[in-house]
Symmetry: C2
Subunit: 241 residues, 2 copies
């Protein structure tokens, strides 16, 4: 048996009573593609510090609450958003990142399809808005960094996973899917190469229906075929076409 007397400091180090615990928050960078723009949902701060500034939806983690559950709860309470794709991004913990004092923040990225966006929910129009990622207002704390990280994460994973499909309704046209990619990646893609890759990957299948959007030839409607992400990587996928 190890004798605890050998190194008392080591034995003490792990006693939570000895060190003050820290405030822990979650913050969520939630994206959607709306009106031909990649947007992020921001809320107006009601707290005295930074009052009136915009910030990411988030808040303190409760004592018996999982981190992801906290992120979902804050998202629901502040914006009405539920049932989103959610993925942990990074934990920010620099001692001076929050002017209120030392706060650890676990950041999440979320994706929400445009047809499920609360545009003006619970009459909070003035308290929550979707901003273009290229035209952000003044933000509290280190939230600009979080948004930047979230954007990089989404762009990266767009290339080798199917998260992009989280941002579309259940059925969609190939034109819409391509526009989604172009808006997020901020560059134009070749239509034929894009479709060739889709066929190769067998990511989507026709529903048999068509949709006409006013002018132009009607487009075939597709739906997502659930595919294992791992299979994608193993097939050596590189999705930005």
């Amino acid at each position: 048996m190890t004798d605890p007397l050998i190194s008392p400091p080591a034995a003490e180090r792990h006693r939570s009573a000895d060190l003050p615990p820290l405030p822990v928050t979650v913050d969520t960078v939630i994206f959607t593609v709306l009106g031909e723009e990649l947007r992020v949902l921001l809320v107006r701060r009601a707290e005295s510090r930074f009052l009136g500034l915009w910030s990411l939806p988030g808040g303190f983690v409760r004592p018996e609450e999982a981190l992801e559950a906290a992120a979902l709860r804050e998202l629901r309470d502040a914006t009405g958003v539920t049932d989103v794709y959610l993925e942990q991004l990074y934990t920010f913990g620099d001692p001076d990142r929050d002017t209120r004092g030392r706060v650890i923040s676990v950041a999440y990225v979320a994706l929400l399809a445009a047809d499920r966006c609360p545009l003006v929910p619970h009459e909070l129009e003035a308290e929550a808005q979707w901003f273009s990622v290229y035209e952000l207002p003044a933000l509290a704390f280190d939230h600009p960094r979080m948004i930047q990280s979230g954007l990089e994460r989404v762009r990266t994973k767009l290339e080798y996973t199917t998260i992009g499909l989280q941002l579309l309704p259940a059925t969609f046209t190939l034109g819409e899917l391509q526009r989604l990619y172009e808006i997020i990646l901020d560059r134009r893609l070749d239509k034929r190469n894009f479709r060739r890759k889709l066929k190769l990957l067998e990511l989507v299948e026709e529903t048999g229906q068509k949709r006409s959007d006013g002018r132009g030839r009607p487009a075939a409607l597709y739906r997502f075929r659930r595919i294992d992400f791992v299979q994608l990587r193993e097939r050596g996928i590189h999705v930005p076409f």
Copy 2:
């Protein structure tokens, strides 16, 4: 101005005084390649709970300490390891992940070249050891999951970054470099393809010296040429040769 009386709960939610802060720890999965095996450094727990079990080096974050600084400090104190490559992995926060109560743990991955490994440092032989990742002892908490995540991270990044070079001394032979990749990825690679890719990427350069390891033809010694990670990705790199 927003009237704070409209939604007192929202206004209160962000006051750290209202919610008990949480204990926050850092834990580090530190890898090396030693004796033809991928190994992880574990320490024997001195604390009463889980006494005698092995665990990842880690401990509580101090009130004014950055997360990464905490990870480095715990690593140094528990194992004597300094100056390592360190990268944040994931934050584990399930309410029941630590039997001592609710503890948030920010996990890090570290890489240490074999020639800098403390083998039997500070006479703590019995308190810290390098274990093969395929033959782990019983571990405290959710540390097996952390090691698994760390392993996946290292394998993934081996493919599109140069972190592998963190695990070798300043000069090395191409055989050593290839063996490193084979051990981490746990599969054999083709020598000619491996070298062709290295030349293509201009990752390493000859030092002009040679080394003879006892038997066999002497191998040329190489050194790492610092290269921007981003450039690698842009050049469409896929390193496992």
